[in-house]
Amino acid sequence: MNLTFREAVLTFKRAPLLSLLSVTTIAFSLFVLGLFGLVVVNLQSALHGVEERVEVVAYLLPGAPAEAVAQALKDIEAFPEVQSATYVSEDDALARARAELVELRDVMQELERNPLPASIEVKLKPGFRDTDHASAVAERLRGFGFVDDVRFGRDWVQKLDWLRGVAAAVGIVVGAAFAIVAIIIIGTTIRMAVLQRSREIAVMRLVGATDGFIRRPFLLQGAIKGLLGGAVAVGLSFGAYVLINRYLLQSAFFSQEQAAAIVVFGALIGLFGSALSVGRHLKRV
């Protein structure tokens, strides 16, 4: 292991330019992937913001008995899809309308009687904010005797479903394409590093080195290059994120786990790219 580490590190010293080229190539390949990742992350957080507004509202008949409503709230909160259920009384509804609909304030002031019904506002858990689950919840709410009508903006939620599907499909296809291109470019770079040392590999074999012995420094070196490349890619992405935030629009950055995943992905590509190149090379000679 000691020797493996020494050989791997020595390669950086002996071929600094090629090593730098490998790390740079890996960094930029992953950077492109990272930029796409940022787009996905931001799109997701935007979708998530919209999703949070998915809400099923049950309007109650006038004079619904308070105990029955209180019991119903408990029952509704126990639904598997439901995150929270809030009772909004007629007065609350009027106060909210006054605050939100400023243009109609005068009209509201002149009202003799509150025309707004009481309601139960039901928020759904993440993962249940789609047409099917909203419909199912709405159907169950209709079953309560004191419920007059249930609304959840079906058209709007359906559009959201569609948007989510498109975003996921585009994300997977484009993401996979970017990832494949990154893997090919990185693989080629690593192959160059192996070929550059083919003479050395031949000598190693002549003096009785086992394939495992020859392979190990390459794997370690590939993993280190990938790790460095991944770290640089995250750094570049962060730079891009700072610039976008300053000059274009407010956006989100990767979570720590996502950033770590990029670095680990780099290390894995480096590792497997090296394993593949060295393996092929060893088989050939």
Binding site: R14, V203, L206, V207, G208, A209, T210
Partner: protein
């Protein structure tokens, strides 16, 4: 030690490289392998260090049967051999000392013993003073001495030298050849492929001659205890 029995070697595109070659090199022996380029000398060498497998016939080296060797045994065989080439095959980015130490490191030798063993063989080949030099800073003869030191450091039972003097001037050739003789005198078998007949004539060693892949002369069989004169005739072009 090394035993070829009716060995044939065919290459997919190159035709027949060896035709029915049989010989035996004993422990501690010095044998020249001669013949024109393309006669099959290098193929014999490659079969000995298991770079190639015979198409038919049997090759036995240091207790290994090259025909049936598992790939993972090949490195083990090579650790028992020392191999020297015309083009030295040193690693350019390592010093003489590191080049020699490398051959020990790949075998998993204890690191505490490596430095002493390396210096011992570098002293043996007369290059102790240039241990820190890189190959490009050494003459051809010196580079070949480093290569020989590398071949010796694992204390091989056989030293294979494929045209070891092919790239050297006369003076360096004499020096390297003397070194190989000394090595043989200390008990290591040496198989030296060469087409330098002057060299062959200089020493009373066994000569195995190949012509177009066939063994045409073996001094131990054809002239047991034969005179130098007889050998001269046999190997003269």
């Amino acid at each position: 030690m090394i035993k070829f029995t009716s060995v044939f070697k065919a290459f997919p595109k190159g035709g027949l490289a060896l035709k029915d070659v049989s010989f035996h090199v004993a422990k501690g022996e010095f044998a020249f392998l001669t013949g024109h380029s393309g006669a099959g000398k290098s193929t014999v060498m490659k079969l000995i260090y298991a770079e190639e497998r015979p198409t038919s016939g049997e090759v036995r080296v240091s207790g290994y049967n090259v025909n049936e060797m598992r790939p993972r045994d090949v490195p083990m065989l090579r650790r028992k051999l020392g191999i020297v080439f015309q083009d030295f095959r040193l690693l350019e980015d390592r010093t003489a000392e590191e080049n020699v130490a490398f051959a020990l490191e790949v075998t998993g030798a204890r690191s505490s013993t490596i430095a002493a063993r390396v210096m011992r063989v570098l002293t043996q080949v007369g290059l102790a003073a240039k241990a820190q030099a890189y190959p490009r800073e050494l003459s051809g003869g010196e580079q070949q001495r480093v290569a020989i030191a590398r071949a010796l450091v694992n204390e091989p039972t056989v030293l294979l030298a494929d045209e070891p003097t092919g790239n050297l001037d006369e003076r360096a050739t004499r020096g390297v050849f003397q070194l190989l003789r000394d090595i043989n005198a200390s008990g290591t078998a040496v198989v030296m492929a060469t087409h330098d007949l002057d060299l062959v004539r200089q020493a009373p060693y066994r000569v195995i001659e190949l012509q177009e892949g066939a063994l045409v002369y073996d001094s131990s069989v054809d002239e047991p205890g034969g005179s130098g004169e007889a050998r001269d005739q046999a190997v003269a072009p």
